[in-house]
Symmetry: C2
Subunit: 201 residues, 2 copies
């Protein structure tokens, strides 16, 4: 299942070179980097780039799949270390940080949580959605997150928090701050400072 059709040796080499150079170019010039330039740097004709990646989105995704999968896996690592509520916040923090630090990742993840997102991107974003769902539902069972919020809503709001932090300054210095302003709204109204949702009557 790994490879439906084994690529011809030269095709495979070109494919990999393109991804390498695309990663460099995106990091250097942002997600709008010249596709022609990427092809040239990879030592292939521009037509070859289009053969492998029909549009910029496809190339962006190929470049960032690993980073996206890594984010999804971090969710479980964090969940094993922290109580559900804190784990969710911590993961959202890392997610937002990466969206700002890795140029192009924000737009890509944005399309992944958009209502009418393409089938290609749905596949790529689904592991992130899965991770979010696990964290959110655990926190809801724990009682630290409102039971009426959907995981996808939280992902979209994290995207919003990243956007807000980006406005504040280029890097992600304000993520924690904006995230805390948001999470307070995600919690059920607290009646007490101590633990346990003590029965009222």
């Amino acid at each position: 299942m790994a490879q439906v059709k084994p690529m011809r040796a030269d095709a495979r080499r070109n494919y990999e070179r393109l991804i390498e150079e695309a990663a460099v170019a995106f990091a250097e010039h942002g997600e709008g980097a010249s596709l022609d330039d990427i092809a040239k740097r990879a030592g292939v004709g521009s037509g070859t780039l289009y053969r492998h990646f029909p549009n910029r989105q496809a190339l962006l995704e190929a470049v960032y799949v690993d980073a996206i999968e890594a984010i999804a896996m971090r969710a479980d690592e964090i969940a094993a270390r922290l109580p559900p509520g804190e784990a969710l916040v911590e993961w959202l923090n890392e997610l937002s940080e990466r969206m700002i630090q890795v140029r192009g990742l924000k737009t890509l993840l944005g399309s992944a949580v958009t209502d009418g997102s393409s089938a290609v991107l749905t596949a790529c974003g689904s592991s992130v959605k899965g991770a979010a769902t696990r964290l959110v539902e655990a926190a809801q069972r724990e009682g630290t997150v409102r039971p009426d919020v959907e995981p996808i809503e939280i992902l979209r709001l994290a995207h919003g928090v990243a956007t807000a932090s980006e406005l504040a300054n280029g890097e992600g210095k304000h993520i924690r701050r904006y995230l805390s302003l948001l999470t307070e709204g995600l919690r059920p109204e607290r009646r007490r400072a101590d633990g346990g949702p003590g029965p009222e009557n």
Copy 2:
């Protein structure tokens, strides 16, 4: 003070025609509409467009100043009708709605609340910042908004909310929902359901 240098009649006419056509083009093709096309539709050479508007941002701003001023003025209308806390939320709702409905306005207002925003845009965004400041401070005096949040932070978060709603679907159906998830975090933790911040000791 209205006009430092009265423009030559033809220049003034071109200036206005450009803004008119730019408004149509931005509404039709988004904020990335072809500048050359706008010049052609306005019946002027492309150089004339650049003479009046050195870059796309300048043109966008000229097209949307009125809309931006209108938003700022709405703040006072709403403040006269509702208690401070509700007024803020209502205004943020209208602000976010317009950011989504009027193409290009979101990016423009985004630059206005960005840390290192250009001098041109600062001038244009300052009335919005003023409006936000009045509403936020009134709500803080009333005790319905945390005293440690800055107006500019709330403007950035509203931008984030608009972004999140945009991901949810093209129009702004989810703004109220996402805004309420946020505002819960803007309120000081409620100890009581009844009014008045009763003195603790």
